[in-house]
Symmetry: C2
Subunit: 476 residues, 2 copies
Amino acid sequence: MKKFLNPSSIAFMGASNNLTTMGTVQLINLIAGGFKGKIYPIHPREEYVLGIKAFKSITELLETPDLLVMVIPTNAVIENLILAGKKKIDRVVIISAGFSEVGNVELQNRLKMVAEEFGIKIIGPNCIGLINTAVSMNFTYFPYDTKPGWVGIASHSGTYICHVFPVLKRYGLGFSSAISLGNEVNTDMVDALEYLGEDERTRVILLYIEGIRRGREFLNTAKRVSMKKPVIALYSGGTESGARSAVSHTSAMVVSDEIMNAVFKQTGILRAESLEEMFEWSFALGTQPPMRGNRIGIISLAGGPATTMADVAQRCGLCVPEFSSELQKKIRNFLPHTASARNPVDITFSMNMDAFFEDIPKLLIESDEVDGIAIYYSFGVDFMKNIIQPVKDRISAPPENFFEEFASEMRKKFVNAVKNEKKPVVASCFVSRDFFDVAYYQDKGIPFYLRPESAVKALSAIYRYYSFKRRNQSEK
Amino acid sequence: MKKFLNPSSIAFMGASNNLTTMGTVQLINLIAGGFKGKIYPIHPREEYVLGIKAFKSITELLETPDLLVMVIPTNAVIENLILAGKKKIDRVVIISAGFSEVGNVELQNRLKMVAEEFGIKIIGPNCIGLINTAVSMNFTYFPYDTKPGWVGIASHSGTYICHVFPVLKRYGLGFSSAISLGNEVNTDMVDALEYLGEDERTRVILLYIEGIRRGREFLNTAKRVSMKKPVIALYSGGTESGARSAVSHTSAMVVSDEIMNAVFKQTGILRAESLEEMFEWSFALGTQPPMRGNRIGIISLAGGPATTMADVAQRCGLCVPEFSSELQKKIRNFLPHTASARNPVDITFSMNMDAFFEDIPKLLIESDEVDGIAIYYSFGVDFMKNIIQPVKDRISAPPENFFEEFASEMRKKFVNAVKNEKKPVVASCFVSRDFFDVAYYQDKGIPFYLRPESAVKALSAIYRYYSFKRRNQSEK
């Protein structure tokens, strides 16, 4: 798998100089993404493909490339795989579809036999390609237009490694590596998981699973990898409808929800309910320290989100303890009389901005009454600048740049308060990264979510992961 | 309630010419929002407040305003309520907090008695204000910066009617009216629900509930209103932690989840799991025709989302039937051989764009094999323009504006195909409104979601709502 993701040269079949094929788009993305290795297009007629010297066939390549990518008609795959074998190519990504997933089991079996004969490892067929941001390699169907990062993904869906760039961007995250597995003819989820577990750039592993082909191996590998780093999965094959779709999609080996849940429980894999939830959890797990117990403190600039977060916390296995009277007293020092200090701490309307941005977060981080903190953030401070705009000549407003400077100061205090090694802190507000504060915090590694519920569920994911780890360590 | 939301004049206490009070910000929003009625600021010292002639006290008002808003210190509320009573004011919104929610039950009881003595209806105390976009009225803490719309909301949280403007914007939605209820001293969720039920501009009603004070009346009103239009609720008081927070927040009368679920079931109220889900469902329920059964067809440009949608559909009470061989044959006419026509219809990579944008949606809308349709959309067509940019001089690309024109044509075909009176159609892609297609479709009333799972859950909400309605009609 390492060679698949770190090739120093790629031969590419199925791209041309016009846009009628998928392969052309994929090769464009590889070139435009700035791939650091060599590229050898293979085309029967064109002398140059996308400006790069092309070779007429695999046979005519001047050197054996580390990787061959095929985006060619189904019925041309096997003959070319044989040529690849003769050329001593041992890593082939087959994007081409039309095998088991549409019932062509025999064709896929022949593919497997040819691969075996020549000792070729295949990713695919029926996949979308690979991403490794360390070497600027992306030959999926979409340009990788966000930053490199530390989220690793292995997926039975190609879509979920390349349509999701906007999801990554929403959280300021990036992929380390992304692997689309397709029909898994002789390389599968187990290999991908193994690789991502060892990849130093990957902090959290996401799996989109439609079925598992090697149950025992998956179990063992997942259990081992989970102890090193968090693994989050979305499994869509557990219902009858999901299963039928999965079979048509990647000829998946589906199992029931019950079995899969047992596998996840035993291996410490966290099961997410949606694709976006995987990314949400990865943000918290990849940036925050371990969580020792399930007690959370909630700090909110508003009562509704405070109540919702408290409610959701209990529903997902967390606890929102009422603070001791000592702690409540300390908190109340910073609050107006209408605020609540019981937990949730509901700041309500207060002129003491330091309370929210610094004092109370610090107090809870230092307290031994909670193990993690969820914050509802609202809109920062500089929204006031916009509010007063329409009446600015009728009001004794502070100087022009007051709010911006104040907001900047508060942001720094907030980062300084919540970035810590002791307890996870997550936050939310209803505005996305187009609100400056959100981008600022996310880029500093503070998980900011669009929904208060998501923040709490991410904390719960942290808690469950470290509970698994502790339980498993003590068993040893 | 009608008078509260349609005042021709508002007296406003607690705003001044500097920014140290909440009231000032709220009055700014009322003025800057272009409120169509008269505004009378009341201030003991200022001659003008925010450029408007002020009155020294309630007593000195020259006419009796339809509505009085108070954002004043807790201990000044009752004396001013008496003055209001003497001035024959019968509608007062009390933003001021510090009553039952912090344990001052006695003070709130006195407030209630004074109101009773003078026949005054109060919204609050401890609320954030009201919005009625028909008269450009918004005196919450944030400027209403999105368009007027048809979503009505009544909320025990002020935050959930004014911090949520970005959520509305994310879907191109707008409020008709929004009511923050606070401690509900003598006007409550039942009154708000009754009003929104009768309000012609409101197509869907959202309720954020922390507790119900008048159970019997709520039950009867909700059942009646539900038959006229969909009601969606988020209830956060059903767990111990949620309940404690709700009591501190709005001195709520919490009940267990079991009881509330029974109430929701009997009244046809749809229970959402998060605030954003309420808005997501409202989009589908407010724009789409009824759904006759639970069979859905799934059309997807990619296999992963197809499988996930099929799986989620079954989990939320929908069914994804395998199409008849006749229908599959018709669908296959439009598809490449690698695609699946069984349901989900997975288009995969196809050069026949009409299939996705027009032919297959039309086929399923006309078919009697499904009752609703969920679509995963991907990125439209003009993203190709960006992809080829880096290699545009090395490729035989179509003319400059080809993709834009093609995309525009496809968008029109898509709208023409999916806008229909027969079956609900919902869609999703991972990109938000900053992608032109999404804004375009949303503004034409086609629900577009950020998550494939959300699209399916919205269909399920439609199905459940019309099932309730049918069941209830047949009982009569």
